[in-house]
């Protein structure tokens, strides 16, 4: 029976206009008064609005009355375009019967257009190609249609031409959605099966779980059971996301919505789990999601060691809303207890750090991002190392390999020289170029992933004055001359500052770290040597001279209060210092070591 429900995701390459298109559909549905509307309304996180990109998939439920007079209920999921967040896309697709594959008419088909199409095909979804930004003078509709046919293998006559910004073609698109995206299948009378595809933590209500009901019906008062853990909860509320949460009497087969069931313990909620009913359970759970393999690793430590528990709690809650983050306990002599985290990419790392700091009020110290290296030992075993602490004894290493990526950079062609320079500094190989449009340059090259995790993106943005963009895919592992660079402060190795680097890069990175530490570590009563070393060989060195004079000349009756207040602040500041041997290292030093040299 077709109840008029249509579930679809909007997918595309980054910036092709998904969220703007979602705006037009939401406005058409009249969910938000025009006066309160803001662009990319589904991008509700502060970082999303600041950076102008979508990070989290968002669901919204709309009513639509078709030209023929049928009433429909649309569940739209806006997804991120950046490759680091493709896990968000794949989970969204598991709740849908179709997708709008948006292509920017001025940019044409791009890497993530194709990657996202493949994801949709994996899920057997109906695909509606949408050519967007037709209002732009640079829009090239004909060649975009050609690319849709040639590169995507789709029928260009199926494409709907729109301008999400100008609101052109929206009615036709809505008609196409209800006509061409099939209604959900699924049996209302079967035992309940609902797929958990996202969640977030509400301090008052516990986990708010986003789910797609595949079979059966879920109502408040029911006792649900999570199939992976067997934990049971009484359903307090079900409903739909209509920008705000709106409660409903039930969610039935085919619906996308949310469940609140007093799940206060974060471990009770697992993304990919199947919800069923305790008194009439389903026989088999649904397919969950395959785990993502992290590519960038870094350890997170609380600035104050006593905040470790709070960080642990924050990570647990954060992970509800970002299932792609993996982490495990880690510890460092210098930084104490923390977590080794794996990220899907650099942007992901940055976003996780920022969201933990902003949404969960954590103050963090991160260690240098690393990739996973492969070491073949003399006895033939292969060890995978993503943490410099696990770097094997060099005398046992027969072969070292590091991951390579195929990188693509887009930039106005006037920056070509500067971009070439930073690529070559990063050991880029086999560069090729072409100009997809006059004045625009597209560069391709192979480069070790480890070289781009270290401040590459910042440098690219700097040398192209913000115009350069960058995308990559992992290709293979290649043999490389890798060493572990250690940083010694007053003769003691600071474990959190070690990094695995190419031998040729070690000296430069070591010097950089020593210089930064020299600026950040306050003078002590003794001279502090700061050294970069490979094994026992010192390759970089700086010295912090001892302090001699630190006293105010006059201190009488009126000065006591001011002096005490200063001392109170200093005492607080001392807590943020990390002790390495007899040396106090401020938390800022760990951050500074990761920063690029301004030039």
């Amino acid at each position: 029976m077709d109840r008029g429900v249509r579930n679809f995701s909007i997918i595309a390459h980054i910036d092709h206009g998904k969220s703007t298109l979602a705006d037009r559909l939401i406005q058409h549905g009249g969910l938000v008064p025009d006066r309160q509307f803001r662009d990319q309304i589904l991008d509700s996180l502060d970082i999303e609005r600041e950076r102008g990109i979508t990070i989290k998939s968002q669901t919204v439920n709309l009513a639509y009355r078709s030209r023929a007079g049928g009433t429909f209920e649309l569940n739209l999921i806006d997804t991120p375009g950046h490759v680091d967040f493709s896990y968000e896309v794949s989970r969204a697709l598991a709740s849908c019967e179709g997708v709008l594959l948006v292509v920017d008419a001025s940019q044409g088909v791009q890497a993530q257009t194709l990657a996202n199409l493949y994801l949709a095909m994996e899920h057997d979804l109906a695909v509606i190609p949408v050519i967007n930004k037709i209002d732009l003078p640079s829009a090239d509709i004909d060649s975009t249609r050609l690319q849709i046919e040639r590169d995507l293998g789709l029928d260009p006559d199926d494409a709907v031409h729109v301008s999400a910004k100008a609101g052109i073609g929206i009615d036709d698109l809505l008609e196409a959605i209800v006509a061409r995206i099939p209604p959900p299948k699924g049996a209302q009378d079967d035992p309940l099966k609902a797929l958990v595809f996202d969640a977030h933590y509400d301090p008052f209500r516990g986990a708010v779980v986003s789910c797609r009901v595949v079979d059966g019906v879920l109502r408040p008062g029911d006792t649900l059971r999570m199939m992976s853990t067997g934990a049971a909860f009484r359903v307090e509320e079900v409903g739909a996301f209509r920008i705000q949460r709106v409660a409903r009497p039930e969610l039935q087969a085919g619906d996308v919505g949310y469940v609140i069931a007093g799940m206060k313990t974060v471990a009770d909620t697992r993304i990919g789990d199947t919800i069923t009913l305790a008194d009439r359970p389903a026989a088999e759970p649904l397919h969950g999601f395959k785990l993502m393999k992290p590519v960038v690793f870094s350890s997170l430590y609380p600035v104050l060691s006593e905040d470790y528990e709070a960080l642990s709690d924050a990570l647990e809650k954060y992970r509800l809303n970002d299932a792609s983050l993996v982490y495990q306990k880690d510890s460092s002599v210098a930084l104490g207890q923390g977590f080794r985290c794996g990220f899907l990419g650099l942007l992901h790392l940055e976003i996780v750090q920022e969201r933990l700091e902003r949404e969960f009020n954590q103050s963090l110290v991160l260690t240098a991002p690393s990739v996973e290296y492969h070491f073949t030992l003399n006895d033939g075993t292969v060890v995978r190392v993503d943490n410099p602490a696990d770097y094997p004894d060099p005398s046992r290493i027969a072969k070292a390999e590091e991951p390579y990526i195929h990188a693509t950079i887009w930039t106005p062609d006037r920056y070509m020289g500067a971009v070439m320079k930073i690529c070559l500094e990063r050991r880029a190989e086999n560069p090729t170029y072409h100009c997809p449009l006059p004045g625009r340059l597209e560069m391709h090259f192979d480069v070790p992933l480890g070289e781009v995790v270290y401040d590459f993106y910042d440098r690219l943005k700097t040398v192209t004055q913000g115009y350069g963009s960058f995308d990559y895919e992992l290709t293979d592992f290649r043999v490389s001359d890798l060493v572990r660079l250690d940083i010694l402060v007053n003769g003691e190795r600071v474990d959190a500052l070690s990094m695995i680097v190419h031998r040729e890069k070690a000296r430069m990175r070591g010097l950089h770290a020593c210089e930064r530490l020299k600026d950040e570590i306050p003078r002590h009563q003794f001279k502090i040597p700061i050294q970069g070393a490979i094994g026992g060989t010192i390759i970089a060195r700086e010295t912090i001279p001892p302090f001699r004079k630190d006293v105010t000349a006059k201190c009488y009756g009126g000065d006591a209060t001011r002096k005490r207040k200063l001392l109170e602040r200093q005492k607080e500041g001392k807590k943020r210092m990390k002790m390495v041997g007899a040396v106090e290292i401020p938390q800022s030093a760990f951050v500074a070591v990761l920063k690029t040299d301004e030039d």
């Binding site: 009563q525 003794f526 302090f547 001699r548 004079k549 630190d550 006293v551 105010t552 000349a553 006059k554 201190c555 009488y556 009756g557 009126g558 000065d559 006591a560 209060t561 002096k563 005490r564 200063l566 001392l567 109170e568 200093q570 005492k571 001392k574 007899a582």
Partner: protein, 367 residues
Amino acid sequence: MRTDAPGSPRGGPAGLYVHVPFCASKCPYCGFFSVAGTPPVEATRFVDALTREAALHRDRFGAFDTLYVGGGTPSVLPDDALARIAALGAGAAEATVEANPGDLDPGRLVRLRAAGFDRLSLGVQSLDDSDLRVLGRRHSAADAVRAFRDARAAGFANAGIDLIRGVPGQSSAAFIDVLDRAVALAPAHVSVYDLTVEEGTPFASRGVAPPCEDDAADLFLATSGRLVAAGYEHYEVSNFARGPTLRSRHNSRYWNRMPYLGVGPAAHSFDGARRWWNPRSVERWLAAVEAGRDPAEGGETLTPEQARLESLALGLRTLDGIDAALVGDPAALRRLHAGGLLEIVEGRVRPTVRGMLAADRLARDLA
């Protein structure tokens, strides 16, 4: 505005500080609260107000053990006014008045002595005329020497000299020479202050830079060595006395956290548990006192932890140091001890000379 009354002072009789916020002209490095030129209030009215203010606290503070009249420049006030101020601290075991060498003559000195002052702190600053010009002082080196000798003759056996180290353009050798000439006068007390460039002063806007850390440290140690060799005790970062009995008893109260009442604009008070302070405005202070109100404009009652931090910040400046029980970071104590910045004597943690040179740092590390 203070709401609760101070408790009665602990630790025996208190000190009385009188702030005279007037100077003939403003020195370009000075960050003290003082009004330059003709005082905005007649001397008689000013002293009346000081007297009323002291009376407000009579119940709590009783008689005073030390009196210190500072400024500003107390010597800009006429003798009868100073005599009335001296009477506020009648019976004190030490009564100090600060004076500018240019304001003194033998007759005045005799009158001050007769009024009850027994200790004189002379704002000499340098014994080199070019330094004195840079500092914007109105007196010459010869005036200073003459004033000091006159003070002795007038009966001020306990007369001290204040010097500034690190005057712009002054070489280390030149300072040592000034110091030697001061020592040759055999003062009972010497204070040597490193020039500090205070925010908002003409020196600050001119971008005057104090000597580099190494030079300043060397000169600090040289100063201490010379004065100690000449028989002085280096009993506080900037203060030297010819023997323990000639230390400034009043100023020692500040470093030992003993009670004192401060009267006059911008003066601070401490009763052993609470600190409060007067407005940095002659008008606001005067209006309150003349209306019979306590002029205090702010205050705080210290928690035990705050008291502990104060002890560190203040006590580590002095030769006597602090009670070892106040140390909050024993690891730092061991480190600083090994580094020769501290010694531990009879349960007290005392800075060495090198430690005094880094007293603020010691306090921070031991906090």
